[in-house]
């Protein structure tokens, strides 16, 4: 990146323009970083997610919410605070509304729309009440685009809820959130930003290497150790004492 900037600087780019470029580069590079983390979360750890996009959408929503325009810095706490509150509202309201209208016989899209409307109203309400109660205007200044990004997850909840149990949906939602929070924490670190700017080539190669490793990884996912605990964490070759059902496969 440095060499590139050096060349551009020679073409009479202002400091601001270079800053913009750097910022864009950072933002664009964070995308593969986030997807790499989602990949690790999915294939190595075994966390489920609502969709491939959900952790990315959520991470960037957090990022935008925590971004302070005035001094171009990131406030992780603020991002997480608003992000989590919004996520919870979306999750809760989607679930409740869906439960309410589940029995009504209607097509899927209108149903999802009704759920989405409830979410929209709730978010607006939360903004108003939040401002009134805490006398803080932070909520008013929330980046509308991020709010919408989080709200799109509502459809994914409803789609999952319509097919799976509430329990399952909540587990998946929590795991999506976990992945996003981890991704957000990592990309918000100044160290990550510095590294990305100063060692761009190394970063790209590193990400390539990690993704090849994850892509070819055929070992058990961490969560699978829990899923198959009865098979893995047992001491004896025979099981259940009587050994009657045991396979005869000692080599």
């Amino acid at each position: 990146m440095d060499t590139l900037i050096e060349i551009l600087r020679n073409r009479n780019l202002t400091k601001e323009e270079i800053g913009l470029l750097e910022n864009s580069f950072l933002l664009l590079m964070t995308l593969p970083i986030v997807t790499t983390i989602s990949g690790i979360a999915r294939y190595i750890i075994g966390l489920k997610s609502l969709s491939v996009y959900a952790p990315i959408v959520l991470t960037f929503a957090f990022y935008e919410l925590g971004y302070i325009e005035a001094d171009k810095s990131t406030n992780v706490i603020q991002g997480l605070k608003f992000g989590l509150v919004l996520f919870m509202i979306v999750l809760l309201v989607s679930t409740l509304t869906y439960k309410l209208i589940r029995r009504v016989r209607m097509h899927y899209t209108p149903k999802a729309t009704i759920v989405l409307m409830a979410v929209s109203i709730s978010v607006i309400m939360a903004m108003c009440f939040g401002t009134l109660l805490f006398e803080k205007k932070g909520l008013i200044y929330l980046d509308a685009f991020s709010v919408i990004m989080i709200m799109t997850l509502s459809d994914q909840f409803v789609s999952l809820l319509s097919r799976k149990s509430l329990n399952h949906t909540l587990i998946v939602a929590t795991q999506t959130l976990t992945t996003s929070v981890i991704s957000y924490s990592i990309i918000s670190l100044n160290a990550t930003k510095d590294f990305a700017l100063n060692y761009s080539l190394l970063l790209i190669l590193g990400l390539l290497f990690i993704n090849f490793f994850v892509g070819k990884f055929i070992g058990l996912r961490l969560t699978e150790y829990i899923r198959f605990k009865e098979l893995i964490f047992r001491d004896t070759e025979e099981e259940n004492g009587d050994g009657k059902h045991k396979q005869n496969k000692k080599k």
């Binding site: 097919r163 799976k164 058990l220 045991k246 396979q247």
Partner: protein, 476 residues
């Protein structure tokens, strides 16, 4: 504490999702095969073409227009609706009967009117249950009637048998029993029971209840889940190999239902076999796949034989395969066949006694089986033997003088004679030819006949007739 090396060793036996996809699903299943497996109508047609039984198709509904043109009153009172591209049993609805108002009744007794049924069909067409919420097709087919063998073990719905076939060898199998919790559906996620199946004999072994872990008995009953025998096991294995071949699925999970009248029918082919089957069998799949991988399977029968030999779980099966002998216990349930009629037999518990040379049978039982004539004939001839002779050599001498053996063996049912020395004294007895079946193996035995009515077992099998068996004293 379990040692780390043990954990590493055990974890190598288990197949995870990563390896399943990269090493098995992708390399072994042709792209075309996914299309077949993901479309239940194509699956049906293909299997029917290969003479593999499938449930009968009643109707296919492709679109809203078609849905409106159907007269639902023409449907039978019992049927199943399914999304053609459905995944994990979503959107499947089973109707058992129809009430007087024309509403269909589900397993949980909830009722479905025609307009509700149409909405269910619309949901399916809208893609609510398909892989990527794409537009789907409704499939209406005949309901498979539960096989009698499962009548007491299942709640409402028919249990389904899943076979995982890899490289034309059935490697693992599972029976899924619908429960009250699963609302009559054979779906583990919804709370059905999953039982591992011994590949050699088709009997259930270890079982899990939904996601709750191991169970021994069917909930709310005293019925044990293990030891349940799959009807038509050989045919199931055969069809599973044939289906995987026909569809071009090198690695597949094939789902069967057993119909009361038709026998095994294939309801679904899956290119992405679920991994819970490992928990039901209490065994890792990876180890079995590795074993099955390198083998060149010549034909369907070869595949079945390999499956039974390699993955027929129980230890004794292994010993039997090596020694060619069946393993039996000290007390064994046997069949004793009638003299004249092969189809008539007496089933009873017999004492297996290696201390005795000769098999013996109770007089009363022998008479029931049609040996009365021979017994009376012998009694007639032996009446003259004086009871006073209590010395072995003297009995021998007497028998020789009287030519007892020659006289007695003239009767076609009497094979031989023997002098038996017991605590009660020495007796001269006849041996009759008798057919036994011990542990599914026919044995032509020669048995002495005497009154065992005051003994615990009416038949005692002696060492002379136990050549083809190994005796496990701990077996009950």
């Amino acid at each position: 504490m379990v040692s780390i090396s043990k954990i590493r060793k055990n974890s190598k036996k288990v197949l995870g999702r990563n390896e399943r996809y990269l090493e098995y699903i992708r390399p072994h299943n042709r792209r075309n095969a996914f299309k077949i497996a993901d479309d239940k109508v194509i699956t049906k047609r293909l299997l029917a073409k290969h003479d593999i039984p499938v449930p009968k198709m009643i109707r296919v509904i492709n679109s809203y227009e078609e849905l409106e043109s159907i007269d639902f009153n023409e449907l039978p009172s019992s049927f199943v609706i399914k999304p053609v591209h459905g995944v994990r049993g979503g959107g499947v609805d089973i109707f058992y009967n129809r009430d007087s108002e024309g509403q269909w009744i589900r397993a949980d007794k909830s009722k479905v009117s025609i307009s509700r049924l149409k909405t269910l069909c619309r949901d399916i067409i809208d893609g609510k249950y398909s892989l990527n919420n794409e537009q789907d097709i409704v499939l209406i087919e005949e309901r498979v009637k539960t096989h009698k063998g499962f009548r007491y073990h299942t709640f409402k719905g028919a249990p389904d048998i899943r076979i995982i076939v890899f490289n034309n060898i059935p490697v693992m199998a599972m029976l899924r029993l619908p429960t009250e919790r699963s609302k009559g559906k054979a779906n583990l996620d919804q709370g059905a029971i999953g039982s591992g199946i011994d590949m050699a004999v088709g009997k259930t072994t270890h079982s899990i209840y939904g996601k709750a872990g191991a169970i021994e008995k069917i909930p709310h009953t005293r019925l044990p889940v293990s030891g349940l025998r799959m009807p038509y096991w050989h045919r199931i294995l055969k069809y599973s190999i044939e289906a995987s071949k026909a569809a071009g699925l090198g690695f597949a999970a094939i789902d069967f239902l057993i119909d009361r009248d038709l026998g095994p029918v294939i309801v679904e082919l899956n290119a992405r076999a679920g991994l819970s089957i490992q928990l039901a069998n209490d065994t890792g799949l990876r180890e079995r796949l590795k074993k099955a991988g390198g083998i060149k399977v010549k034909n369907v029968e070869h595949g079945i034989r390999l499956s039974k030999d390699l993955f027929g779980g129980e230890i004794e099966e292994g010993i039997e395969a090596i020694s060619g002998k069946n393993v039996i216990g000290l007390i064994e349930s046997i069949k004793v066949f009638s003299k004249d009629d092969e189809s008539k037999y007496e089933k009873l518990k017999a004492k297996i006694d290696t201390g005795a040379t000769i098999t013996s049978i109770d007089t009363g039982l022998a008479r029931e089986l049609g040996y009365s004539e021979a017994i009376d004939f012998a009694d007639e001839n032996l009446k003259s033997v004086p009871q006073s002779i209590q010395d072995l050599s003297e009995v021998k001498k007497y028998a020789k003088e009287q030519q007892l053996e020659k006289k007695l063996t003239e009767h076609p049912d009497i094979a031989d004679t023997a002098i038996i020395k017991q605590s009660g004294g020495i007796t001269y007895r006849i041996l009759i030819n008798i057919e036994l079946e011990i542990s599914d193996r026919k044995v032509s035995a020669k048995a002495t006949v005497f009154d065992r009515s005051n003994l615990n077992y009416k038949v005692l099998v002696g060492s002379r007739d136990l050549k083809n068996f190994l005796i496990d004293v701990s077996r009950k």
